[in-house]
């Protein structure tokens, strides 16, 4: 029975199906189909492609050397907002996770209320709430509102990731640490968190990528991030297709780079247990 099963698996059809050439052909066909579909339909629309216009919106070059174009400036704003929010989101996330796992009823309740509030309302509403309601009340500016909204939102999701990582650590690790006389703080810092963080690196990366993408929403409160700059440029130049393609490409480059870095880190820190 095993023999016939094996021979069926190595049949001619199966070998073609499994060969890399088949994959390459499939992929090429798919790319062609997409390009053909797109070019034929834009042609029908009579869209006038002006790709040559795009580079100057990223960089301009004159006798004084290179100068940043609006898209580059927007990219920097996006990176700054995402970067700060990411650090804050991880801190909030870790804090909330520890609150949820703590012995204190009050701490657990605070964490639960925060989580439910954030996860059950749209980010856009949170952003508006912080900017239009808390902003005037607390006197915080646009940039702070944006960072606060993003880090509170992503922090809620990050905390669940941290929590799952922490509870996945075997009980024996806690007991070994305690039996050596380590304090709760030292146990977390030296034993539990290093292992937990390594375990949750992949979902943590996804969350970081989500944050970068979600940061596009700050354009709604008139922060000139990458998305807002693109909108402004399109209003001026009508290069709708080229600019959105470019902006999407720029987001893709940031997030892809992040993925590659984390993949490398995961490979480096691999723990066997």
């Amino acid at each position: 029975m095993t023999a016939s099963y094996l021979s069926r698996r190595t049949s001619l059809w199966h070998r073609i199906y499994r060969s890399p050439i088949f994959d390459i052909v499939q992929f090429t066909l798919l790319v062609f189909a997409v390009v053909w579909f797109f070019s034929s339909s834009t042609e029908k629309m009579g869209y006038n492609w002006q790709w040559y216009q795009i580079p100057k919106y990223i960089f301009t070059h004159d006798e004084n050397g290179y100068a940043a174009g609006p898209l580059w400036e927007g990219l920097m704003v996006t990176l700054r907002i995402s970067g700060i929010s990411l650090v804050l989101a991880f801190i909030i996330g870790l804090g909330t996770a520890l609150f949820r796992l703590s012995q204190s009823f009050v701490a657990r309740t605070i964490a639960r209320v925060y989580l439910e509030a954030i996860r059950n309302t749209p980010l856009l509403i949170q952003l508006f709430f912080i900017y239009f309601v808390l902003g005037p009340v607390l006197g915080i500016n646009r940039m702070t509102s944006a960072v606060l909204a993003l880090s509170l939102f992503e922090g809620a999701y990050t905390s669940e990731i941290f929590r799952s990582g922490i509870v996945s650590i075997r009980r024996g690790q806690w007991e070994a640490a305690y039996s050596l006389g380590l304090s709760g703080f030292d146990t977390y810092l030296y034993i539990i968190l290093p292992q937990a963080v390594r375990r949750v690196l992949p979902p943590l990366t996804s969350q970081a990528i989500s944050l970068i993408k979600d940061s596009a929403l700050v354009s709604t409160i008139a922060i000139y991030d990458l998305t807002m700059q693109a909108q402004a440029l399109i209003a001026e130049t009508f290069l709708t297709f080229e600019l959105w393609f470019t902006v999407a490409g720029m987001y893709l480059i940031i997030t892809a780079t992040l993925s590659v870095i984390v993949n490398y880190m995961e490979y480096r820190f691999k723990v066997s247990d």
Binding site: S179, L180, D186, R198, V271, S272
Partner: protein
């Protein structure tokens, strides 16, 4: 009967009881006293409360009632007393529980640095000495995952010893090991016993009990059924239950 807190006894356990949330009575009005330097082997069927007894001794399980005093320190609800006692009581687990993200050397040095506040060099020297003692100094920079079970357990013993404990608890330290590795771990334990360490070992290694133990305690249902020397258990156990149990494991 000697006086209650005679300095002769390093561990005094008085009428402790422990019931788990699921209603299992792990320890029932359990009392015992252990001399400084004594080697006690605890045997008994699974679920008899022997592991729970060990885990209560360093506060990994909280007792419902009764009192535990170790080297004059009462183990009570205060965090401080638990930390204080854990410094003095080393524990070796069935599953080794080494820290997989740290090298062998880091595993042994961490508590020395964080709890005993030693310098990096002092901790390192101590760790290397202990690794030599358990016979695996050459593995200092390896990760636990690269070691055999027997080697991991010897590292775990070294890690516990690094705190200079006054008492060592062994919770089925050889039960998870392949047969050919049990000997190397038992040898380390025997060496430790001959140095005068106070040891409480939950184990079914009756050869070990016979060779080094001063006293064997047979437990069932959270109570001591019978206690005596290893010879007593081999030659003339008084209780039927003891005889039945021994016939099963020997």
């Amino acid at each position: 009967m000697p006086v209650k807190d005679s300095g002769d006894y390093i561990i005094v356990v008085e009428n402790i009881s422990k019931t788990f949330p699921d209603g299992v009575k792990a320890l029932v009005d359990f009392s015992t006293r252990i001399h400084r330097g004594e080697v006690v082997v605890v045997i008994g069927p699974s679920g008899s409360g022997k592991s729970t007894f060990l885990r209560c001794l360093n506060g990994l399980e909280e007792i419902d009632s009764g009192a535990i005093t170790i080297d004059g320190i009462a183990l009570n609800d205060h965090k401080k007393s638990r930390l204080e006692i854990r410094k003095e009581v080393g524990m070796v687990f069935q599953q080794f529980n080494l820290f997989p993200h740290m090298t062998v050397l880091e595993n042994i040095s961490l508590a020395q640095r964080r709890v005993r506040k030693k310098s990096k060099e002092q901790a390192r020297d101590m760790s290397m000495d202990l690794l030599k003692k358990v016979g695996i100094a050459e593995k200092a920079d390896n990760y636990p995952g690269q070691l055999s079970g027997g080697q991991q357990q010897r590292v775990a013993i070294a890690r516990a010893l690094a705190m200079m404990p006054k008492v060592m608890l062994f919770d089925e330290a050889t039960s998870a090991l392949d047969p050919e590795m049990i000997g190397e771990v038992l040898d380390v334990m025997k060496a430790l016993a001959s140095e005068g360490m106070t040891m409480i070992c939950v184990t079914h290694e009756m050869g070990f009990a016979r060779e080094v133990s001063d006293r064997v305690i047979f437990m069932e249902d959270g109570k001591i059924i019978e206690a005596g020397t290893a010879e007593h258990f081999f030659s003339a156990p008084a209780e039927d239950r003891t005889r039945l149990f021994l016939s099963q494991i020997l």
